[in-house]
Amino acid sequence: MRGTDYVLKRVAFAIVTVFVAVTINFVLFRLAPGSAVSNLSRVPHATQELRHALEVQFGLDKSKWQQYLIYLKQLAHGNLGVSYANDQPVSTNLRIDLINTLPMVTLGTVFSIIFGIFTGVIAAWRRGTKAEGATVTTALAFYSMPTQWLGLMLIILFAGILPTGGMTNEFLLNPPFWTHVKDLASHIFLPALTLGLVLYGEYTLIVRSAMLETLGEDYVLTARAKGLKPRTIVRTHALRNAMLPITTLIALSLGYIVAGAILVEIVFSWPGIGRAVYQAVLQRDYPMLQGAFLVLTISVVFFNLVADLLYFKLDPRITE
């Protein structure tokens, strides 16, 4: 079975990638100048005993190799260590953050993919017209803007109309269900829109160039010669084939989504994983940073795998 082979290969690749990331993660953090303890015991004149106690507590007194094995073993049990900042397990912290991040990022990404495909197709189909010029210019403009800056611009524009920070109104205590939903929706709007707009620009450009390539293919010419309706040609001949590169490129842009999410969450104080990265950086909270990086990498690898499998579904020829 060629299909099973392909699936297995992709899954194996994903697993190895995660392993590489895990190792990079470990190596990087052990290369950190000074031990984490010297950052932790910022108390002036920390005694030798206190330092040593902290070192033993965080397992920093063992050899690097031992630390690596312990790290792997703990990781396999889902233990990401304990945050230096709040003494809570990193996995607990990250779980809450991830749950907060997902709806915002999903909303922004789905918005951008749908609109990106829509305007990208129009731009390719109407090549050389004003419609193409306008779509491409808009897309390029959004693509070029730094994410955090676009967020700040939206804050300036919507200040007073929509909430510009946080996920819920903290002064609403035990609100009725619908009030809560409305509150959440008003808070999610701006961050999701910022992320959506930045990605929208990129996806429009991707879809446009993929469509331009397929529209130049002979089978499109054939379809045209057969007298098919333009709508049919675009939908079943050109777009169907253009979806292959589009899927790959969207999968490759997952890292971009992650980067965008970090910046957006900082700007809008969204209590998600991106802000966790930010705070971990500020507080030099290495276990949190390590854990967050791992979670982000695993999600990107996972969605890449999904895209690979989707690709297989779209085009079974690739196993050959």
Binding site: P146, W149, M153, G216, A259, V277, F293
Partner: protein, 315 residues
């Protein structure tokens, strides 16, 4: 090998292709606009020490002073002239952009060249490594590395440079794979030319235009990544870059102070620089992609675009 493709592959056509490329660029409005912007930005950045109206370390007025005749873009939170800050900021942003891109081009270019040229096991191993790095999200990794190394301009450059090379390596490898099998490369090999000579004299010139297109696009990403790292407070606090200006404005509440002049211009400048790079790089890539040139259909004409000014070879 057909006669037509043989004709395309001869080196004379290769040189005329570079000329044709330049011609295409000159006739493309977007490329001309992009080039103009880039030249203007680079000139301003280079001349910043001489043309910046004020010193960027001395206070010349009240914090967040609104725009006036003497300060067209107002003052920042420290009472420093924004126009001068922007000029110096562009300088640092471009230094990071160019230097990081250079690092990534050297790494990506050599990996692509070696991988494509030697093929076989070397290729497999190198491309595997590239694949892993391609999937691992680069900005979080940059954040991690920069956070560990500590904030400095040099670190930022290296961090961005060593993580941006993957797409370059892939693109270059694909091109080298096709160049490698061309007649003149095989002839050179038959004449006893060494690997180094073949790569430098015959392969590199053929992939150079693509490498340049890729470079221009990478500069855009590097400038963007610099603003992201600066926004997390990971850039050198004493060196003002455009990203640093955005971060300062955000951190020091320019928005609640209503000081739009402290926050809008740096973002616009970053967008303009990235836009210019994308326009030039995109035009170069388009011009290098024969599929887009040769057969092109659109709603208006819906026929093969006439092959103007091209010889039999292109048909």
């Amino acid at each position: 090998m057909s006669e037509a493709s043989f004709f395309v592959e001869s080196p004379e056509v290769g040189t005329s292709r570079t000329k044709a490329l330049l011609r295409t660029l000159r006739h493309r409005r977007s490329a001309v606009i992009g080039m103009t912007i880039l030249v203007a930005v680079i000139l301003t950045a280079v001349l910043a020490p001489w043309i910046a109206p004020y010193d960027i370390h001395t206070q010349v007025g009240a914090p967040f002073e609104p725009p006036s005749w003497s300060h067209p873009l107002g003052l920042d939170d420290g009472g420093i002239d924004m126009v001068s800050l922007l000029m110096w900021g562009m300088r640092i942003s471009l230094v990071v952009g160019f230097a990081a891109t250079f690092v990534s081009m050297v790494i990506g270019g050599s990996i692509g060249l070696v991988s494509g040229y030697f093929g076989g096991k070397t290729d497999t191993i190198l491309m595997r490594i590239t694949d892993y790095f391609l999937v691992i999200p680069d900005v979080p990794l940059m954040i991690v590395v920069a956070a560990i190394w500590g904030p400095s301009l040099f670190h930022i450059i290296i961090v961005i440079g060593i993580l941006l090379w993957t797409s370059t390596a892939r693109v270059i490898r694909a091109q080298v794979l096709s160049v490698r099998e061309r007649v003149y490369v095989r002839r050179a090999r038959a004449l006893g030319a060494g690997h180094l000579r073949i790569v430098l004299r015959h392969v590199l010139p053929q992939v150079a235009p693509l490498l340049i297109a890729n470079t221009v696009l990478t500069i855009a990403v590097a400038v963007f990544d610099e603003t992201a790292l600066a926004f997390l407070g990971l850039s050198d606090p004493s060196r003002i870059s455009l990203g640093k200006l955005i971060e300062n404005a955000f951190e020091r509440a320019a928005i609640s102070a209503g000081a739009w002049w402290a926050i809008v211009p740096p973002g616009v400048l970053v967008a303009v620089i990235i836009l210019a790079c994308v326009l030039v790089g995109g035009a170069l890539e388009d011009a290098l992609n024969p599929r887009l040139r040769v057969a092109h259909l659109s709603a208006r004409t819906f026929r093969l675009r006439p092959l103007v000014g091209r010889g039999k070879a292109a048909l």
